[in-house]
Amino acid sequence: MRLSIINGSPRGASGNTEKLLEYFIKGFLETEGNSVETVNSIKGRPEFTKEREMFLDAERLLIAFPLYVDAMPGSVKELIESFEPLKGKNPSLRLMFMTQCGFPETHHTRFVARYCEKLVKRLGCMFSGTILKGGCEGLTVQPPALVEKVFQRFYQLGKAYGESGELDSVILAKLAHPEHLTPENLKQVIPMVNNFLWDGMMKKNNALDKSFNKPYDENL
């Protein structure tokens, strides 16, 4: 099985999207004969020559991106616009998406997921599903055991996909958990992210005292 991947993360190889993809790919390659080609679309803008070739040539294509302002990053929208002339040109392409967000709840990604499914129809391809995962900001400061569990699930998802050519709905559902947080969870998670992740990063940059700086005038 041949899988093509476009990593749409503006952070490229240093981002969380890349990290999750790494495990998915590792699992996918467990099946003998499987192969993967990957590109980072932020490097391809604004022509996206390689990405458009990939779209036309691929049997299976995964487009992965982080959630930016509740949708795809602007650079991924540029990529999608570059695909407009390719509508209907690869009808046997199995196209799928992966969207991760920093918010702890996966629910935030559901809206752009609906867009992605419609996009597959618009491009005249076959929809192969969407991998959705919340809670991905600060993977580096989360408890290692928790992070390892997420990585293992991506590995398992990739492995199952490499064997069957389908995304496993049971693993997808596990990854999407939690869809929402309970009021108790909200009370725990919010201060944890604010104090450990954000304050930690601000402290490292000697910026904690400037945290609420307002460089623009709101009373113009």
């Binding site: 993360s9 503006p10 952070r11 981002g15 932020i42 803008r45 982080p66 930016y68 302002v69 509740d70 949708a71 795809m72 990053p73 602007g74 650079s75 929208k77 540029e78 999608i80 616009e81 695909f83 407009e84 918010f103 702890p104 709840e105 629910h107 935030h108 809206f111 752009v112 609906r114 867009y115 419609k118 996009l119 618009r122 929402h180 947080l181 009021p183 909200l186 009370k187 998670v189 919010i190 992210v193 604010n194 954000w198 990063m201 601000m202 490292k204 940059n205 910026a207 400037k210 945290s211 609420f212 700086n213 307002k214 460089p215 623009y216 005038d217 709101e218 113009l220």
Partner: protein
């Protein structure tokens, strides 16, 4: 009221004169209307480095027109995102502009109606509105999907979505929606 039009259309588009006529009518009612012609501005896509949250809070590391986007956005009472619908979504020009205004909010999370969203950095934020020009392949479902996503984006930008109008309706409809007649 100060109404800012973020114009995401191309140079030859009929949308430019449509926006102009909405702006003229809005000004005729005594409100202030400003326009940012996005295609004439120079701003990089957000690279997600978060320096605007954790290193130079409130300011992007890129020294480009992203600064103007932030300043003008914050100073407005209503921001009208005016754009063609391309491949079922507003133009990348508009999305890149929106991605660049995240310095205006704070990284801290808070509970907003039982969900996690970002905290305010400033006291007040403009209301958002969408003025969209359909393309040949735009259908009702696309408009519904865009509306859903922007209702969500408005929550995260500490704003609300005032209206979504299409340019195949008379300009007066958009004008009325802006000035609340």
């Amino acid at each position: 009221m100060k109404i800012l039009f973020m114009n995401g259309s191309s140079a030859g588009s009929a949308m430019n004169s449509y926006i102009r006529s909405v702006m003229n009518s809005v000004e005729a009612t005594g409100h202030e209307a400003g326009e940012l012609v996005l295609r004439d501005m120079n701003y990089s896509p957000c690279r997600g480095c978060f320096n605007c949250w954790v290193k130079t809070p409130g300011l992007c590391v890129f020294k480009d027109d992203g600064d103007t986007l932030c300043r003008e956005f914050l100073a407005a009472d209503i921001v009208v995102l005016a754009s063609p619908v391309i491949m079922g979504y507003p133009a990348a020009l508009v999305k890149n502009a929106l991605d660049r205004i995240i310095p205006l909010i704070h990284p801290y999370l808070e509970d907003v109606g039982g969900e996690v969203h970002h905290m305010k950095r400033y006291k007040k934020y403009p209301q958002l509105a969408l003025l969209l020009e359909k393309s040949g392949d735009t259908d009702e479902e696309d408009i519904e999907i865009i509306n859903e996503i922007f209702l969500r984006a408005a929550i995260n930008l500490q704003s609300s979505l005032k209206f979504l109008k299409l340019t195949n309706s008379p300009a007066e409809e958009a004008v009325n929606a802006i000035i609340n007649y």
